[in-house]
Every structure is written in C-alpha cells, then in structure tokens.
C-alpha cells in the first residue's frame, strides 16, 4: 500500500466510508437534493383508478433534516439533509423511494448506504417494535439483444410483526399475479411488496441499532452484492454482520417488452402500527466491477 496516497488526510471522508467496486455508477448524498429518488406508483391506463390498490398510495421520498420534538435538529450522518420515507399512520402502510437507471455490462454490482429507521415520536416510550420492516429492492432485466429474464432481488429487515420483535433479514422468491391494466393490452401490473412469502435468510438474525427512544438516531451501514450474469445475490452486510448468499432468493419473471437493461433500486419502509414509520438514508453508492 502506498502510504502517501492512502493517508486518511488525503481521503474523501464522504467516500472513505464506502467500499466501492472498481467503478462508481452513482453516489448520492442527499445534502444536495433527491438525486433521482422518486415516488413509486403502479401502472395505469386512462385513469388513476386503474392503479392496483396496493400501489395507489406508496408515500413519496422527501428531504429531512431530522428535527426531533425534544432535541431539535440532528441533521444527517455527514451533513444536514437525508432522504426520508414516511408512511401514513396506518398499520401496513408503505413508503417507497425508487431510482431508475440502466446498465451496460453484465457484471457484479454493489449497493451501499447509511440508513436508520424510526417510528414517529408520538409516544414517550421505547416504540422499538412500531416499524415493521425496511428494505432495499432491485428490478433488473436483460438487454435488448439478450432477452434474459427480469429479476427482482428484494432484501428486507423484518424488525417486528404484530407487535413482536423479529429482528431478521429476509428475501422474497415470488411476486403476486400479473393483472391487465386498462383495455389496450399494453399495460400490466403486479404488486411485489406484499407481506406474504418472505423467506428468512439462513442465520440472518440481527438486532439493528435502534437506541432507546424514538428520537435518538444511529446510522447503520448496509452493503448488498449482486451478480447480473448469474442473476443472484452475492451476499450482504449490515454493520459488522455478513450474510449469504446461500439461501437468498430473488423473484424471477419473463422478460417484458419495455424494460431492457433496466436497473432500478428502491428503498421502502413499512409500519406495524397506526403510527408513521420513517426510513432515513444519509447517502448511497452503487458501484460495479466493470462498465
């Protein structure tokens, strides 16, 4: 190692927290805007009423400075603003933020981020089981002249279910039935974030740092690896815990006519009680072995 070029004094402290592969595809620090992270909506034709009900009200991302009622503004991990997802105050409510790109080489990818999850601080108690889950999903399809399957790796941290602490990582092998939307025959939709069908990652139990009241935030590191050629997870890491890829499943679908080279990434958060659940993302980085 060249000590001069690897000196911490010469490092970029924003990027030094990450372990990117050879090429950085994007690095998003939400101190300077949304960076393409937007709301997920179901497909529609002619009327918004044609959206599948589960897709109708996935709440949109916003920019937050993490201001708490008791201690004021915390700011984000490396600045002032974070991407924030907030559900409605209704058990099972979801908020999703998605970023849509394409890829140009079947290679290994790695997604890293710093995040934290909390319920809205409407009660003066621990509230550690109020957030049901948060997760990261990918939606990927092969290239135009290489019509490989569409595949959707989903990784979620099930924090609690029906008031009981769960504390485990899960993946999802199946989506729901496809529905025809509208009358043209051009549009379909399927809901893939339902509560059913999640499979525990073997040995995937973990209590991610929550702290002791709803207004104390600790930022956790999450790293997820994918192999675009093999269409598989290559494993993941949360803080110091490393998991997989054994026993990690993905949703596999037939290729679709308008999704070639798609490379979408989404965060989501789900509430377990009639209280808003929040997911904050300080920053994220997508890197590739090659481009």
């Amino acid at each position: 190692m060249n000590e001069e070029t690897h000196s911490p004094l010469r490092a970029d402290p924003h990027l030094s927290r990450f372990e990117p592969l050879e090429r950085i595809l994007y690095y998003d620090d939400f101190d300077d805007g949304l960076h393409g992270w937007t709301q997920l909506i179901g497909n529609y034709e002619h009327s918004l009423d044609s959206v599948l009900p589960d897709y109708a009200d996935l709440r949109q991302p916003q920019l937050s400075n993490l201001s708490m009622w008791d201690t004021g503004t915390a700011g984000s991990a490396m600045g002032t603003y974070a991407l924030k997802l907030a559900t409605r105050p209704k058990a099972g409510g979801l908020s999703v933020g998605i970023k849509r790109q394409t890829y140009r080489k079947l290679t290994r990818l790695q997604f890293e981020c710093y995040l934290c999850f909390k319920p809205e601080a409407t009660e003066l108690r621990l509230s550690a089981t109020d957030v049901r889950a948060f997760g990261v999903l990918f939606d990927i399809q092969g290239g135009y002249r290489d019509p490989r399957a569409r595949w959707m790796p989903h990784l979620r941290y099930l924090n609690a279910l029906d008031g009981q602490r769960a504390g485990k990582w899960q993946t999802k092998p199946e989506t729901r039935t496809f529905h025809t939307i509208g009358s043209s025959g051009e549009t379909v939709s399927h809901f893939h974030l339902g509560p059913e069908g999640w499979v525990d990652v073997p040995g995937g139990d973990q209590i991610v740092c929550y702290n002791e009241i709803a207004t104390k935030m600790n930022w956790s590191y999450l790293k997820i690896g994918l192999d675009l050629e093999a269409r598989q997870f290559t494993g993941f890491q949360c803080d110091e815990q490393i998991y997989g890829p054994e026993g990690m499943h993905v949703i596999s679908l037939d290729p679709m006519p308008n999704l070639f080279n798609m490379l979408n990434v989404a965060f989501w958060v789900e509430t377990d009680v009639d209280k808003r659940a929040f997911l904050y993302v300080d920053s994220c980085l997508l890197s590739a072995e090659a481009v």
Binding site: G33, L48, D49, S64, N65, S67, T73, K84
Partner: protein, 114 residues
C-alpha cells in the same frame, strides 16, 4: 456556471377523496424558502361552496397551528387552486373541512424551492 436553486414537487395526496375534515400528510420543508400548495380537482361532488384550505406549520410534524394562508378549493372538475407560503420553518400541511354533502377527489402538490 450559476448555482441553481433546489426545487422539488411533492404530490402529497393523489386520487384521494376528501369528505368532512381533511388534513394532508406532514411534509418536511426545512430546506426550502418558498412553497406553493396546488389542489387539482379530479372530481367535484356536491357543492364545496366557499370552503377554504388552510395552511398549517409545525415545529415537529406532530403539533400544528394555522399559518394564516387560506385559499379556495377548486369547484369544477380538473381545475386548480393554489396558496403561496414563505417563512414557514420545517413542516407544512393543509387542513380544511368539506361541507355536508360535498366531496372532492384531489391531487395535492407541494412545490418547494430554496
């Protein structure tokens, strides 16, 4: 190269039916210096009359007070009304109450700039 201002449009409600009292979800706006709420009527039922939407602000996203800005609800399908706000701190929302027999299906946008 000029430093361009940040600007975000949040569809804080979409295809939502308002009857009786209504309140939009809390929106974080600490980064912004100015805001416009737009209400677009997808469908008007009954007579909203002179019902007003009222802007509220909050120190924490949980406790709300009237900011003072009010504006009318759209009274005809596919029309839009708006209210401008500035100097609002960290949180914004809209509240109001539909009169008996009236209902409004809306898209509500919060356009922030700072």
């Amino acid at each position: 190269m000029p430093l361009l201002r940040e600007s975000v449009t949040l569809p804080i409600e979409r295809n939502i039916l308002w009857t009786g009292p209504f309140a939009t979800e809390p929106a974080e706006a600490a980064w912004a210096a100015e805001a416009i709420f737009f209400i677009r009527a997808l469908k008007v039922e009954g007579k909203p009359g002179s019902t007003l939407a009222q802007v509220q602000i909050s120190p924490d996203g949980m406790h709300w007070c009237d900011e003072g800005t009010t504006f009318p609800l759209p009274a005809v399908d596919d029309t839009v009304t708006f209210g401008r706000v500035s100097h609002f701190g960290g949180w914004l929302r809209l509240v109001g109450e539909m009169p008996p027999g009236a209902a409004l299906t809306v898209i509500v946008y919060l356009v922030l700039k700072g």
